[in-house]
Amino acid sequence: MLQWTETLDGPRSLVTGQTIALVTIEDPGFIEIRGQRSDRSLSKAIRALTGSPPPSEPWSSTGNDHLRLIWRGPDRWWLLLPRIEATKVAADFTMTCGKKAVIAELTGAVAALRLVGASAPEVLARLCPLDLTAVAPLQARATTLNDIPVTLLREAAGVVSWLVLVPRSFAFDVAQDLAWAVKTTAPLDLFGKREPPPV
């Protein structure tokens, strides 16, 4: 059996600060689903897998702790799940989703990092042009980090946590750029309490 080598090898916790931690996670299982939301077979198969119909709101996601289905276009969804299950799930899905849908297992195409902590928005502001305040919990966006295309997923409400999905070939650069931004010690302190400037 050909062993799997994680995209981002090395310590799981890349860098931490008082209010921030950047961690790598295992290469996720990744399945791309193409089809029409109105396709009953597809909708039924997705509901059976995730417990919910396929998300229709742009950039919204459904799922649970185990897997997450992300809207990526009017006829396109990304399914993230544990890598070990991906091949079987893709095969089973192909059998149940009907003839019109297209299921492609793309495990290995993206690597994942997680940015956790109150300072996460400040770290991302150093790299990402997105208006992060416009991204609700469990919503995603396609954007860039230092000009590298990524998908960001804001994770559950109540915890400041962002999942960064990056094309595998760019993962090393993105991890370094994020680590660099975390280590910057000149805080932005955006809209925070400050002494008034002198007059």
């Binding site: 050909l2 006829d75 150093r126 650069d173 910057t184 955006l190 809209f191």
Partner: protein, 996 residues
């Protein structure tokens, strides 16, 4: 401590020296001399306090110059500062705070500021008119390299540091409702009004303090002194959760759609984790420009001498740093502003010899106050000459005369003084809106450009909008904040929180706009009346430019260098407009200003680059086996963002030796190359075949599962843009591979046609490029190697493409012959490629790189996109007409191929070339010459597209595109190599048959 010559005595309770702490002296060095300032001083104020009137030498004429202004508009006092290990040239002394141990150097002089050898240039001024470099240094022509070296050495101001500092710069993105550019009174009021409506506000100020130049004025708001009121408002703003205030962060550029750049200079030492500067990329839904105004100098003979300063700048130097510009002052003013300065000087103990009011009959509260306080005033007068000592190092008198008649001794008066303070009124500093392409109309009453129509979402307020009284400034600020809120909350019914205040500040009469003084100046006087201080442009220079036919402001700017200095013409534009209008006779309101381009103020290259420096200059895409091969080769070829190994040299091998060795191994045994970078696209859906038939020139519709074909992509014109392999994996499921360099473009090409031209087709394009790592296994032993791996034999059973398991991993195997040898492209999920690479190496496959692949395919006579194609080559030119379907009704490029020019005879055709001299390898691009005996230019008929030494053939070989190439097979052509004509035989492409 003895007070320096121009620092006025400490007068507690007065309005002077509010920013300094005399109890904290600070030593620093200026041009090697130890000087003392105090905490709070700028370099400019400290130099003035120490009696140093000369702060720099002008750019062209090396005239001694003193500080003119108080802030970013300063054109003269440019210095190099060394502190904390950083050396930074071209800083304005008015914007740099003194720190202990700082080393400051003046610029553009040698050996010293006082005795600059290049000062003789000033004597040569008549020989250095505008555009002199277009007229002189022409003869003799052979001396031009010498002249050029001299000119280049004389050019420039400060010297860049010898070593690149190890500084860090960062970019930060921010989205807000309202950006307020400028932290003076107008900006504070605008921020306050917008914040009161719940909007998120970014207030950005260029200096380290808010309030602008409000400290130069007396008066009250809501019963509080002006500054105290501002302090209270700033404190209230800072406490709001929806307001963010930045200082030392000027807005340097305004772009469309509310996108702006701010450059923040961070305090404190920088380091590996601490940026030195920060570029804010702000996206604001509304923008308020509250950038104030610049005081206009007056234009009169020798108005550039050290000791001549802007009146408000002198007043602010007194109020902020307790520094007087001199002991005996003459104030020349075209408005009420000069009176304020005269009153302050008076109160500070400076003798105000005379206030020269250019206006004939001014009648305003300030004039009344001035006279009541005992100021001596002369109305309707103007300065006509300046006397100086030391050959111009310092002034000692000014001659004034009646503006109406200046001839005759009785009408001229020489006044002894050591400083002249001038005020020509105010010019709105609204150049930022010019970044948006907005033109500012000329306001004749103001004598300056002033904002007119504005783009939606942009507001200009306060002095930047031509309002100079505190009540008007504040009102405009509040109104802009409210207007921004109205636009953003359109449709929502909550009433606005209106803000107002009781403002009591003396209202000035407007200044009279004036051009050159005296009004009837002689040519010799014009030649010494400076309009642009930094670039030494005088009224005389402008007259010469107009005489030579340059009448448009843009032409005059470029011909005379007007406004081209680091100050970007902040103190220049308004005066230049008035002077040019008089010289050209063109109505000033029809004379548009030059284009105002960003940045507003000079910024460092480092902050523009931000994180894109050094290691971070460009992202690198990494192959899944990068960590395995990184130590094996450092020879890389760039292809898009990939860095692909060129070859894998062994110890003692150079690149060419390694390539030849690897090529021989592939031909005789088996080699393995990482081709994970190739584009891989899955096309699935009931119309997948139909879609591919439309996209490719090759027939696809008849392919059965397991079949694979070499295919071409053409553009609309019929020219080859990419090649690859199309494979049928299953019914309605196809794989298309493309070249590495074109992968992204081809993906975009596929999506563009799918979404915009054929949206009704049931087909999806899924990018699998990053999903699969891929190796090319090539050579006579390739099959045997693959069969020794579990599952390999099954994958090789009788088909061109197969999917299955290889060593228990999902895999695809595609047969190819690109190298001319039996080859297989083996794809496994990227996470498993390191293991597969190691396995194949263990089984004896020799790694080979991109250069080796190039050599192998050259020997095989196969094309490479980008080598044999250049956007003008058709499949028929390449001898690949069999890849163009004769039966498909339509495909991209079909109609283009029918054009007469693409079907004519004598088009360039791909052929092979075998040079007569087996060791001569002509470079790609070498022309095939038809008339080698003729003198240049010679007639050519084609060019070499690829070349190299063929290990298989034992000689140099090449591919070429030659007119009518195929009809010349067997014949000889000529090319030039190292200056000599060489012969080559034309053959079919491909040289493996020729191998011994």
């Amino acid at each position: 401590m003895k007070a320096p010559p121009h620092r006025i005595k400490d007068q507690p309770g007065t309005r002077f020296g509010r920013l300094i702490d005399r109890s904290q002296p600070l030593d620093f060095r200026f041009d090697g001399r130890r000087l003392t300032g105090v905490a709070g001083d700028t370099v400019a104020s400290a130099l003035l306090a120490n009696g140093l009137k000369i702060a720099g030498r002008s750019f062209k004429l090396h005239r001694p110059r003193g500080t003119l202004g108080i802030g970013a508009e300063e054109p003269n006092a440019l210095v190099t500062v060394e502190e904390a290990g950083h050396r930074t040239p071209n800083l304005r002394a008015t914007m740099v705070s003194v720190t202990p141990g700082m080393v400051v150097e003046s610029q553009n002089r040698w050996p010293s500021l006082r005795r600059d050898i290049a000062g003789f240039t000033n004597l040569m001024k008549p020989l250095l008119p505008p555009g002199f470099y277009y007229k002189t240094f022409k003869w003799p022509a052979k001396l031009w390299p010498f002249y050029e070296r001299l000119i280049r050495k004389a050019g420039g101001l400060g010297r860049a540091p010898a070593t690149a500092p190890d500084d860090r710069y960062e970019h930060v993105h921010l989205h807000v409702d309202v950006l307020v550019a400028g932290g003076g009174l107008a900006g504070i009021c605008a921020a306050e009004a917008a914040a009161a409506e719940g909007l998120t506000v970014l207030l950005a100020e260029e200096t380290s303090r808010l309030g602008g130049i409000a400290d130069g004025y007396d008066g009250s708001i809501d019963g509080l002194f002006l500054l105290d009121w501002i302090r209270a408002r700033v404190a209230a703003l800072a406490a709001l959760p929806n307001v963010h205030i930045l200082t030392q962060a000027p807005v340097v550029a305004l772009h469309e759609h509310g996108y702006s750049w701010l450059v923040e200079k961070l305090s404190g030492p920088s380091g590996p984790d601490v940026p030195r500067e920060r570029l804010w990329k702000v996206r604001a839904r509304e923008t308020v420009v509250a950038t104030g105004a610049h005081e206009k100098p007056l234009v009169f003979p020798d108005n550039d001498r050290p000791g001549i300063m802007l009146a408000t700048a002198a007043r602010l130097n007194l109020r902020r740093y307790a520094v007087a510009p001199g002991q005996h002052a003459v104030v020349v003013t075209s408005g009420d502003e000069g009176y304020r300065t005269a009153l302050d000087l008076n109160a500070a103990g400076v003798d105000v010899e005379l206030v020269v009011d250019l206006r004939l009959r001014p009648d305003s509260p300030m004039v009344d106050i001035g006279k009541a306080m005992g100021l001596r005033v002369s109305h309707g007068s103007a300065p006509v000459a300046v006397g100086s000592i030391w050959g111009g190092a310092s002034i000692d008198s000014v001659t004034v005369a009646n503006r109406l008649v200046i001839e005759g001794p009785a009408l001229k008066r020489e006044i002894f003084c050591d400083t002249v303070l001038m005020s020509g009124g105010w010019s709105p500093a609204a150049q930022l809106i010019g970044n948006l392409g907005t033109r500012l109309p000329f306001d004749a009453a103001l004598g300056a450009y002033r904002p007119g129509d504005l783009p939606a979402g942009v507001h200009v307020v306060g002095a930047a909008n031509g309002a100079f009284n505190a009540a008007d400034v504040a009102a405009q600020g509040w109104q802009a904040g409210e207007a921004a809120a109205l636009r953003l909350k359109a449709g929502k019914k909550s009433p606005l929180n209106r803000i107002a205040a009781d403002i009591d500040v003396t209202r000035d009469d407007p200044a009279e706009p004036v051009g050159m003084l005296p009004d009837t100046a002689r040519r010799s006087e014009e030649a010494r009346a400076f309009v642009d201080f930094h670039n030494d442009v005088t009224v005389g220079d402008l007259r010469i430019a107009v005489r030579e036919g340059y009448r448009d402001a843009e032409h005059v700017k470029r011909y005379t260098a007007l406004g081209l200095g680091p100050d970007q013409g902040k103190t220049t534009h308004a005066n230049a407009a008035v002077v040019l209008a008089k010289l050209t006779g063109i109505d000033i309101e029809r004379q548009p200003h030059v284009t105002f381009r960003p940045p507003w103020t000079p910024i460092s290259f480092g902050v523009i680059a931000g994180p894109r420096q050094g290691r971070g200059f460009r992202p690198i895409r990494r192959s899944p086996i990068e960590t395995l091969i990184a130590g094996e080769t450092s020879l890389r070829d760039s292809s898009e963002l990939w860095q692909r190994p060129s070859c894998y040299p062994q110890v003692g091998e150079g690149e060419e030796e390694a390539v030849r060795r690897e090529a021989r191994m592939v031909r005789s045994n088996v080699g393995v190359m990482d081709v994970s970078t190739l584009g891989k696209f899955l096309m699935a859906g009931s119309d997948a075949a139909r879609f591919l038939d439309l996209i490719l020139s090759t027939d696809v519709g008849d392919m059965l599962p397991g079949a694979a074909r070499y295919a071409l992509l053409l553009d609309d014109g019929g020219f080859v843009i990419d090649d690859g392999v199309v494979a049928c994996l299953a019914p309605n499921r196809y794989l298309l591979t493309t070249t590495t360099a074109r992968a992204e473009k081809t993906r975009a090409h596929l999506e563009r046609w799918r979404q915009t031209e054929w949206p009704g087709l049931d087909v999806h394009v899924i990018d699998e490029t990053e999903r699969w790592g891929q190796f090319l296994l090539s050579g006579p032993q390739a099959r045997e190697v693959l069969e020794t791996i579990e599952g390999g034999a099954e994958l090789l059973a009788g088909r061109s493409v197969a999917e299955g398991l290889l060593a228990n991993s999902p895999a695809r195997v595609l047969r190819t012959r690109y190298t001319g040898e039996r080859s297989f492209e083996i794809a496994v999920p990227t996470g498993r490629t390191p293991a597969l690479w190691s396995l194949l190496r263990e089984k004896g496959a020799t790694p080979f790189g991109l250069q080796t692949l190039e050599r192998l395919r050259l020997e095989a006579g196969h094309i490479a996109i980008g080598h044999e194609t250049d956007g003008t080559v058709t499949p028929f030119d390449l001898g690949l007409g069999h890849l163009v379907s004769a039966q498909k009704a339509d495909f991209i490029g079909k109609h283009g191929l029918m054009r007469a020019d693409l079907t004519r005879a004598k088009r360039k055709q791909l052929v092979g070339l075998i040079p007569e001299d087996a060791t001569v390898v002509p470079a790609p691009g070498t022309q095939i010459v038809e008339t080698p005996a003729a003198s240049p230019p010679r007639r050519t008929s084609g060019h070499i597209t690829s070349s190299g030494f063929s290990p298989a053939a034992g000689r140099a070989v090449a591919l070429a595109l030659i007119a009518n190439g195929r009809s010349r097979i067997g014949k000889t052509v000529t090319f030039f190599h190292a200056g000599e004509a060489r012969q080559a035989q034309v053959t079919e492409p491909g040289f493996l048959k020729a191998r011994p």
